[in-house]
Amino acid sequence: MLVLENIRAGIEDKEILKGINLEIPEGEVHVIMGRNGSGKSTLANVIAGNEAFEISSGSIHLNNVDITEMSIENRSLQGIFLCFQYPVSIPGVSMAYFLQQAINAHRKNQGLDDIDAVEFLKNSKEILGELQLDNSFLKRSVNEGFSGGEKKKSEILQLLTLNPKLAVLDETDSGLDVEALRIVASGVNKFRNKGNSVLIITHYQRLLDYIQPDVVHIMIDGKIIKTGDMELVKEIEEKGYSWLEE
C-alpha cells in the first residue's frame, strides 16, 4: 500500500525528517509514537503532500505509483486521507456543501456523475448517527465554532464518507474526553478492512486501548529508531522514551 524510502524533508534549511523508511501493507494498522517535536506531524503532512515542506531526497509510493511529486488533491484522489490535528474553519461553507464538493471531486475522477442529493443525505445521516452527531451538523459551517470533540468527529465523518485507501490520523486522540475518544475510535474501527490501511500518529497509548495496531514504530529526532508490536507501547508507557536514546 504505502512505501516510504529514505525520506528527508524539512522547512527551508531545517531538516526535520532524516531518512524515513516505512512500509504499510494493505489491511494493516501502523502506529508511530514519539515525543512532541520528533517529526511525527511533519511525516503526516509530507505523506499528504503539504507544500510547506520540501522533500530533499527519497520517494513515496502508493500502490506502486510514485506520488512523491504529485499534487495534494491528486494524492487525495489516489486514496490518501489526512485526519487533521487542527482542522481549519471555512466560514459560510456548510458541512453538507463541503462534503458534496469533496465526494464529487472523487466521483469525477472515477468518471462518475455527481452524487444524488437524496443518496448523499441518506449516507451522511447514517454516519452522523454512528458518531452521535445531530443531522443539523451538516448545516453548520466547516469547523466553525466546533468543540474539540466535534472537530475530530467531523474528520471521522469525512473519513467514512470518502472511504480512502490510506487514512493518516494525526494526533486524533488529543483533546478528547473518554466518551468522544470511544466514538472516534469506533469510527476508525468501522473504517478498517482488509483492503485499506491506517497510520496512527500519537504520543499517548490511550487511543490504542480501542484500536489494535499491527505494527508500532518509535520516532525520535526525525528517524524511526525501533519497530515492534503492542509490547513496545507498554514499554514506552512504563519507561518513557529516554531508554531508546543513547
Binding site: G49, I72, S76, F84, P87, V88, Q101, A105, Q158, L162
Partner: protein
C-alpha cells in the same frame, strides 16, 4: 509556492470579459462637448416640460461652480468633460413595442442573457432595458398596470406622470448634493421610474438592465422609485459594457422614497467592463444612490455585488426619517487587476427607534485596491437608534490592498453602535484542507470566497443570487494567492 501562485494570478489577468462585445447599429449621437445649448437640445429631443429644463439648467450652473471630489482612495487621469458626448441613441425610433426595437439591440440583450421576449423571460421578473442614453423596451407593462404599478422609462414618466416626477425628482438627492449628482441632474438622458400604489405588493421583481455601447459617451441615467404607504417592491439593476481602450464615464443617480410602512429592496449586480490587465480602459463608475424612509415603519434595503468598473465610487445610503424605520446595506465588492473601488454607505438616523445594518465584504486580488467607506450618523432626536456594522476584507495574493474608513457621529446618548472589522488572506491552511479532500484550487477558492460572501448573497432575490455566485466564480478563476 509563491512563484506558482504568481503564475496562476498572471493567468487570471489574461481572462476575457464575457460581455466585451459591441453592437454595430446606426445611432444618433451628440458631438462632444457640454454647454447650456447641449442641455437645451437634449431637453428638446425628449420633449420635456419647461420646469424640467429649468431644473437641468440650475443643476448645470451649480455643477460649474463645483469641483471634482478628491477625498476618495482612488487615483485616475483627469476626466475631460468636454471630450464626451452627452447623448447617444439608436436611430431606429422605438415607440416601446418590442416589434419596433432594432433587432441588433434585441440580439445584444439575448447575448447578455436578458431576453426581452416576455415568454422567454424568467418568470416573475419585469425588465426595463436601457441602451446607451435611452430606454429601449419595458416588459410586462400590462401585467403590472393591473395592479396599478407604474414601471416605465424615466422619459415616459415625465410625459405621463409629471406630477409624481416633479414632486420627488431631486427630493432625496438635490442637484447641489455632489459634483457627479449635479452633472447627472443636468444631463441625465433616461432611466427607470417605478411607482407602487398604496398597499400593493408588487407581483413581479422589477429589473433594469443598463448597457453602454457607444464610444466616447457618458452614461447618465436616473432612477426614481416611490413606494406608497404599505407597499413592497424588489428591484434589481444589472450593468455591462463593451471592452474599449478608453475609459468611459458612468454617473448615475438613484432616488428611493419609502412612505409609511413601505419596503424597498434594491439590488445591484454591477459588471461594467473593468479595464484590461494593464488598467487600460474600463468604466469610471461615479454613482449617487440614496433612499429616504419618509414614513414610520418603512424599510430600505440595498444589496450590491460590485465586480466591474475600473473605478467605483458609490455609497448607497439611507435616511431614516420615519420612526421605527430600517436601513440596510449588504455589499460584496471585488477588485482585481488594477481596479479600484471606494464604496460603502451612509446611514442617517433621524427618527426614533431607527435601526440600520451594514454588512460589507471586500475581496481584493491582483493589484486591486478595495476601500470600505461608511458613515453612521445618529441625530439628536433619534432616541434608541441602533446600528450594526461589519466590514470584512479578504486578500488574494500579495499585491492587492484592503482599506476601511468608518465614520461615526452620535448625537443622542441612547444610541447603540456595534462595529466589527476583519481582514484576512485566503489561508494556505484552508487551501491545503480543501485540496486534501480532493477539491482543486479553483473550486476551493470559489468555495471559500462564496462562503465569505454568503451573508450578502442571502439578501439577493434567488435567481440573482445564483448569477452573483457564478459571477464571483468566473471573476476569481485562477486567482489563488
Amino acid at each position: 509556492m509563491i512563484d506558482k501562485n504568481q503564475i496562476i494570478i498572471d493567468k487570471t489577468l489574461d481572462q476575457e470579459y464575457k460581455y466585451g462585445f459591441s453592437t454595430d447599429i446606426e445611432q444618433y449621437k451628440f458631438p462632444p462637448g457640454l454647454d447650456e445649448n447641449v442641455i437645451k437640445k437634449l431637453s428638446e429631443i425628449k420633449e420635456e416640460p419647461q420646469w424640467l429644463l429649468d431644473w437641468r439648467l440650475k443643476a448645470y450652473k451649480n455643477w460649474q461652480k463645483m469641483t471634482e471630489p478628491k477625498w476618495a482612495n482612488i487615483t485616475y487621469d483627469p476626466i475631460d468633460y468636454q471630450s464626451l458626448s452627452y447623448y447617444a441613441a439608436p436611430k431606429r425610433k422605438s415607440n416601446k413595442s418590442l416589434d419596433d426595437v432594432d433587432p441588433e439591440i434585441l440580439e445584444t440583450y439575448n447575448k447578455l442573457g436578458i431576453s426581452l421576449n416576455e415568454q422567454k423571460r424568467l418568470e416573475g421578473v419585469a425588465v426595463d432595458a436601457v441602451f446607451d442614453s435611452v430606454s429601449v423596451a419595458t416588459t410586462f407593462k400590462k401585467e403590472l398596470s393591473k395592479h396599478g404599478v407604474i414601471f416605465c422609462s424615466f422619459s415616459e414618466a415625465v410625459k405621463n406622470h409629471p406630477d409624481i416626477v416633479k414632486k420627488y425628482l431631486g427630493s432625496v438627492i438635490p442637484y447641489t448634493d455632489n459634483y457627479f449628482a449635479a452633472l447627472n441632474s443636468a444631463v441625465f438622458s433616461d432611466g427607470s421610474f417605478v411607482y407602487i400604489p398604496k398597499g400593493v405588493r408588487c407581483p413581479l421583481e422589477l429589473s433594469t438592465y443598463f448597457r453602454i455601447n457607444a464610444t466616447n459617451t457618458g452614461q447618465f441615467e436616473r432612477t426614481l422609485i416611490i413606494a406608497d404607504e404599505g407597499s413592497y417592491v424588489s428591484y434589481l439593476e444589472g450593468c455591462t459594457a463593451p471592452m474599449r481602450d478608453e475609459n468611459q464615464l458612468h454617473a448615475a443617480c438613484v432616488e428611493l422614497v419609502a412612505l409609511e410602512g413601505a419596503t424597498i429592496k434594491y439590488s445591484t449586480i454591477q459588471n461594467w467592463f473593468s479595464g484590461d490587465k494593464n488598467g487600460r480602459g474600463g468604466i469610471y463608475n461615479f454613482v449617487t444612490k440614496r433612499g429616504i424612509c419618509e414614513g414610520d415603519n418603512s424599510t430600505i434595503s440595498w444589496t450590491q455585488v460590485e465586480t466591474g468598473s475600473s473605478i467605483t465610487w458609490k455609497y448607497p445610503s439611507v435616511i431614516m426619517k420615519g420612526n421605527n424605520s430600517v436601513g440596510e446595506f449588504y455589499s460584496v465588492a471585488v477588485t482585481k487587476n488594477k481596479q479600484q473601488a471606494d464604496t460603502g454607505t451612509k446611514m442617517i438616523h433621524m427618527g426614533k427607534n431607527t435601526k440600520s445594518t451594514i454588512i460589507s465584504k471586500g475581496i481584493s486580488a491582483g493589484e486591486g485596491q478595495n476601500t470600505y467607506r461608511g458613515g453612521v450618523k445618529i441625530l439628536k432626536n433619534a432616541s434608541n437608534a441602533r446600528n450594526f456594522s461589519q466590514c470584512d476584507s479578504i486578500l488574494i495574493g500579495n499585491k492587492c490592498g484592503a482599506h476601511t474608513f468608518p465614520y461615526i457621529d452620535v448625537q443622542n446618548p441612547t444610541a447603540k453602535m456595534e462595529h466589527e472589522a476583519t481582514t484576512s488572506s485566503i489561508g494556505e491552511d484552508q487551501l491545503f484542507y480543501c485540496n486534501q479532500r480532493g477539491i482543486n484550487l479553483d473550486d476551493a477558492v470559489s468555495m471559500i470566497v462564496n462562503g465569505f460572501c454568503k451573508e450578502v448573497f442571502e439578501h439577493l432575490p434567488m435567481e440573482f443570487a445564483v448569477e452573483a455566485k457564478q459571477l464571483i466564480e468566473v471573476t476569481l478563476e485562477n486567482s489563488v494567492g
